[in-house]
Amino acid sequence: MTDGLIADVLIAVCGLVLLMVAVGLLSVLRGPTRADRMMAAQLFGTGGIAALLLVGTASGVDSVVDVALTLAVLAAFASVAFVKADRQSEGDTENEERT
């Protein structure tokens, strides 16, 4: 458990990072293009992990690093699925009918 002052600092920083992520999410989700919307996962992949680490360390949960590790590996997965799905819906549709 981190002591009082530092814990408060971490929580405050976490709140501000979350606020920034929320504002960013607002602009990203509005679009206008699909590529813009794909950034939503990316945005949370960095900002969300920072907020997670901050709140976890501040409340003394050591295993929060493991959660962050999982997120770091899998945040990319959702984004890749995003791009792949987009590519398939536009270019590779003929593959689908190949059967």
């Binding site: 939503a40 945005l43 949370f44 590790l69 997120l71 899998l74 945040a75 398939q88």
Partner: protein, 314 residues
């Protein structure tokens, strides 16, 4: 201080949920669903459910998002027709009233939960010694409520059977998903070469840590499954044909070992899924180790869907 963060998380969670419900475009709704899953991970952490946070990080933020995005892209041609079916104002008002009524009833119930809260934590603390594991959640999952976990593994297997049963007859036994063609210089291929070795190590680490710290087979299996899917999406390796014997063996390995040890427990310790004295930890490790590959393969097969391409020649 922590409650200020909780308020922020709660508001953001509801805002994203509202977005996924009211936005017109399905693709945009799904795009909002991914950060929603990540935010839920934060909520579990604030509620001190670190094991649940890990599961949500793996499944909610990773796999579910990818599954829904693929579906949204595939179903995009139906979007215009579907939007024409949006119900009129009257239906929407009635739906809103019904939804509000449900929400209010649940809120009132949750705000008037009995005090002091009933809890099984002391019971778990009293008996955890006998299981030999340090993480109370692993103890619950694999010892005190092992039947739930067994049934869950079987439900997942039924899920795969359900997905496979959707295959057209001519494709049965073939490979699931679409053929992926990606150029060798694609950055995705690079990522699919570099990330999986690291990801598999992290998956196994999280599985192993589950004995004494937050973690376990579900979370580890999900990470490993995601790495395999990444390799498939990059086109480096194709999905396996569903009629392969090794695939079937791995699929049923976990539940089979679980049931076999459960029956052995009935003989040695007097009850189905009971562990004989002093052997609990070893049995738990054997069951978890058998479940890990089964769960990983099950999750991959659920993600890639039914076989869609008949096998040309083996």
């Amino acid at each position: 201080m922590i409650s200020a963060i909780s308020v922020g998380i709660g508001i953001l969670l509801l805002a994203l949920a509202l977005w996924t419900v009211v936005v017109r475009d399905t693709f945009a709704a799904v795009a909002g669903f991914i950060p929603y899953g990540l935010l839920l991970t934060l909520a579990w952490l604030v509620l001190r459910a670190v094991d649940v946070a890990l599961t949500e990080a793996a499944i909610g933020a990773g796999l579910t998002g990818a599954l829904l995005i693929r579906a949204a892209s595939r179903l995009h041609p139906t979007e215009a027709a579907a939007q024409a079916e949006t119900p009129g104002l009257g239906t929407r008002v009635v739906a809103g009233v019904a939804a509000a009524a449900v929400a209010v009833v649940i809120a009132v119930c949750l705000l008037r939960l009995p005090d002091p809260a009933p809890t099984l934590a002391p019971e778990v603390a009293r008996h955890i010694e006998a299981t030999g594991v340090g993480n109370p959640i692993t103890a619950v999952l694999l010892s005190f409520r092992a039947i739930d976990t067994l049934l869950e593994a079987i439900v997942l297997l039924f899920g795969v059977v359900g997905v496979w049963s959707l295959a057209p007859d001519r494709c049965w036994g073939g490979r699931p998903g679409l053929a992926q063609a990606v150029g060798p210089n694609d950055i995705l291929v690079y990522l699919a070469r570099v990330l999986p070795p690291i990801g598999v190590v992290i998956g196994i680490y999280i599985f192993w840590a589950g004995a004494d710290h937050p973690g376990g087979k579900f979370q580890g299996a999900t990470v490993i499954a995601a790495m395999w899917l990444l390799v498939m999406m990059s086109g480096l390796r194709d999905a396996p044909p569903v009629n392969r014997r090794w695939l079937r063996v791995v699929l049923v390995l976990g539940p089979a070992v679980f049931i076999a040890l459960g029956l052995l427990g009935a003989v040695m310790a007097g009850a189905f899924l009971a562990y004989p004295d002093g052997w609990a930890k070893l049995w738990i490790i054997v069951i978890e180790a058998a479940l890990l590959p089964s769960l990983a393969v099950t999750l991959v097969l659920l993600m890639v869907g039914p076989p869609q391409r008949p096998e040309v020649s083996p």
